[in-house]
């Protein structure tokens, strides 16, 4: 922490604690503190305002809704009577994000390990840059690539899963169509959250105290044993929170998912079949056709998404913060 010295004041008449309390508070300082504190407070206000406005504007829709908001799968808010609920959205969001996590966490940790401890230093900085580039590709481009280029290549995977693992309902495909499925959307999401997970994990891996690493190696551990005994225990909280931040991104991803899924409002566990809709993609797809109640319904679903991602992110940050307190290893 950079606790700085108080700026020395002008020679002042004798005061009890010269140099500390006696420092004159200048107008420039007062203005500057005010400005910078104001900017900080504005962030708090914005966060509060997001919550307040989402709650306020979702009330009309929730009042008009004649169905159970949490257990209904349909989405007809502008009908009379208005019927909508988040069951299908919740299912689609959790499934796509879940698949993304399943694929991206091991790969992301692997990349981070490779860059932090397997590649040579010069190679590592280039590779770090390359994975960061992946993070810079806009999500709409991932969506277009996913539906036009990747989907045809994933048909084989879907068929393989159906042929060999089809006895598990999850992988069975009775439709014989393999595009616009939850699985495909999950795979694209995995690619998109990879840089988030690997960047943060890499940072934590690099912080592993050299002494721990060298002690493990000096005891004759192989590199993998060193990773398991020195790096993983030290980095576990960081890895968990990196994964949760990735999860947060996967839950809120909009445009790529909107392009990848077929937007059907049902709960279909056959993840290789066309189907699925998520909170975020539903908002993007229904926005321009929504009436007053429709808008309010979308805001209500956005509120649920906000609360979920807020919870995930806060948990992730708390895990990191707790680690910062007791990692006196350095």
């Amino acid at each position: 922490m950079s606790t700085t010295l108080e700026p020395p004041g002008t020679p002042a008449p004798p005061v009890p604690h010269p140099g500390i309390k006696g420092a004159a508070v200048r107008r420039g300082d007062r203005l500057f503190v005010g400005l910078s504190r104001g900017a900080g407070v504005l962030i708090l206000v914005t966060m509060a305002a997001i919550a307040v406005f989402l709650i306020w504007k979702s009330i009309p829709g929730l009042q008009a809704n004649t169905a159970n908001f949490f257990t209904t799968a349909e989405w007809f808010p502008d009908q009379k009577p208005s019927v909508f609920g988040i069951a299908a959205l919740t299912f689609g969001t959790l499934m796509t994000a879940g698949i993304a996590m399943l694929l991206a966490v091991p790969v992301g940790v692997g990349i981070a390990l490779f860059i932090a401890h397997y590649a040579s230093r010069r190679l590592a900085s280039t590779l770090g840059f390359v994975t960061d580039l992946l993070a810079a590709v806009p999500s709409i481009i991932f969506g277009m690539w996913g539906i036009q280029y990747l989907t045809p290549h994933l048909v084989g995977l879907g068929q393989w899963l159906n042929d060999y693992l089809g006895f598990i309902p999850l992988f069975a495909n009775e439709a014989g169509i393999y595009s616009r499925s939850i699985l495909n959307a999950g795979i694209v999401l995995a690619i998109m959250i990879l840089p988030t997970i690997s960047a943060i994990t890499r940072e934590v891996f690099v912080q592993t105290p050299r002494a721990h690493i060298e002690a493990a190696l000096a005891l004759g551990a192989t590199r993998w044993e060193m990773v398991r005994m020195a790096i993983f225990p030290f980095s576990r909280p960081g890895m968990i929170s990196a994964s949760m931040l990735g999860l947060g991104r996967a839950l809120g991803e909009t445009i790529a998912v909107a392009l990848m899924l077929s937007a059907t409002y049902d709960i279909n566990i056959h993840i290789t079949q066309p189907g699925g809709i998520t909170f975020a993609s539903n908002i993007a797809l229904k926005w321009n056709e929504a009436g007053t109640i429709g808008l309010s319904a979308l805001v209500a679903s956005g509120l649920v998404l906000f609360v979920i991602t807020l919870a995930v992110n806060m948990a992730a940050r708390l895990v990191i913060a707790r680690r910062a307190e007791f990692s006196g290893a350095n």
Partner: protein, 361 residues
């Protein structure tokens, strides 16, 4: 205890030697196995039902992993076999991550390059139907530059000021609680989905304050998305400005605000610029919040404060979802323009940070 016989001693030496040096796979083992696995997989591809590039590759990798682990297990023992398995896994994950990046960039460049021309860059979509060829991205490019520019003008100073508060003032403030709260919520804000920010701007500024859906409303959303990124990167840069510099300045009787403006910020400028550019690059491709807060226009609108204004992401979304050959091609052209824009920002930022930046003392 009786002394060890000569033979026993010799035997234990051998054991010790085996434990220390152990058997080792020859240096050529890994490349040889790699080539062998690929050849065998290719053979299987030709002779059996294994087919397709992906399938053959998977088979090759499986053969390689199996052979290497088995051989290593025989010669080097379990621990080294596991180590080799892990190393292969780590290398493999990296190739897995590289593949989509290369594929995405290649697709965008190949498909986009077919459309890009000076007409495409310098005309709008006014009076061009979705099935017709022609038209361009000019109106969207103007929109994106203005919307992102305004967001940067608001977001970057606010972000820098917040970071200054967190680094310079919060630690010595009487109550630390405000600093902690801001710091925590900056982090949480990074994770707020962009579509939720779009909803917020729409409900607060359009529905409640009566603002029009316009380029400026989009800018507000982009500002909110950019803010936490700027704060975090600036904060990191300010923290590595050496304390000696600040204290030298105080010792000369320079007030704190002047010290921050003339000593701390200039030292960290390069880093701050890098962070800001990365933040700009991040929001330049945001589609969802603009979809909710701006109206698409097919014509050139230079005024972000009134009327519908296009932007690159919305242009791409619109053209792509129209679904005709001509419009999908235009979407890929727009994607190439967008990705070039983002990558330029990104590369410039990285170059600045590599060659300048705060020196760690």
């Amino acid at each position: 205890m009786a002394d060890l016989t000569e033979r026993e001693r010799h035997g234990s030496d051998e054991l010790l030697h085996a434990a220390l040096a152990g058997g080792k796979l020859p240096r050529w083992a890994v490349p040889a196995l790699g080539v062998g696995a690929v050849l065998l997989a290719f053979l299987l591809n030709v002779t059996t039902s294994v087919d397709g590039v992906a399938g053959t590759l998977v088979v090759a990798v499986l053969i390689f992993v199996g052979a290497q682990t088995g051989w290593s297990f025989r010669v080097e023992g379990r621990r080294h076999a596991v180590d080799r398995l892990a190393t292969t896994g780590v290398y493999a994950t990296f190739l897995i991550a590289l593949a989509p990046l290369v594929a995405v960039l290649a697709t965008v460049i190949v498909k986009g390059a077919q459309v890009i021309s000076s007409t495409f860059l310098l005309t709008s979509m006014r009076n061009v139907s979705s099935v017709a060829e022609g038209g361009g991205v000019y109106h969207a490019l103007i929109g994106t530059l203005e919307q992102v520019g305004i967001a940067a003008l608001i977001g970057i100073p606010l972000g820098i000021l917040t970071a200054i508060y967190l680094v310079e003032y919060a630690p010595s403030a009487r109550s630390r609680r405000l600093g902690h709260a801001i710091s925590f919520f900056v982090d949480v804000m990074t994770g707020v989905p962009s579509v939720v920010v779009g909803l917020f701007v729409y409900t607060a500024f359009v529905l409640t304050l009566g603002m029009q859906r316009s380029g400026f409303a989009g800018s507000i959303a982009l500002t909110i998305l950019m803010l936490p990124v700027v704060v975090r990167s600036t904060e990191e840069m300010l923290r590595i400005v050496p304390r000696d510099l600040r204290e030298a300045s105080y010792a000369l009787g320079i007030p704190k605000w002047r010290t921050i403006l003339s000593v701390v910020l200039p030292t960290a400028t390069a880093g701050i610029i890098t962070g800001a550019m990365l933040a700009v690059a991040r929001v330049a491709g945001e589609t969802a919040p603009l979809l909710l807060t701006t109206f698409l226009s097919q014509s050139i609108n230079n005024d972000p404060f009134s009327g519908p204004q296009a932007s690159l992401p919305i242009f791409i979304w619109d053209q792509f979802t129209r679904g005709t050959d001509a419009s999908v091609n235009r979407a890929w052209g727009g994607a190439l323009v967008l990705i070039v824009l983002v990558m330029l920002l990104y590369l410039t930022a990285k170059i600045i940070s590599r060659f300048t930046g705060v020196k760690k003392f």
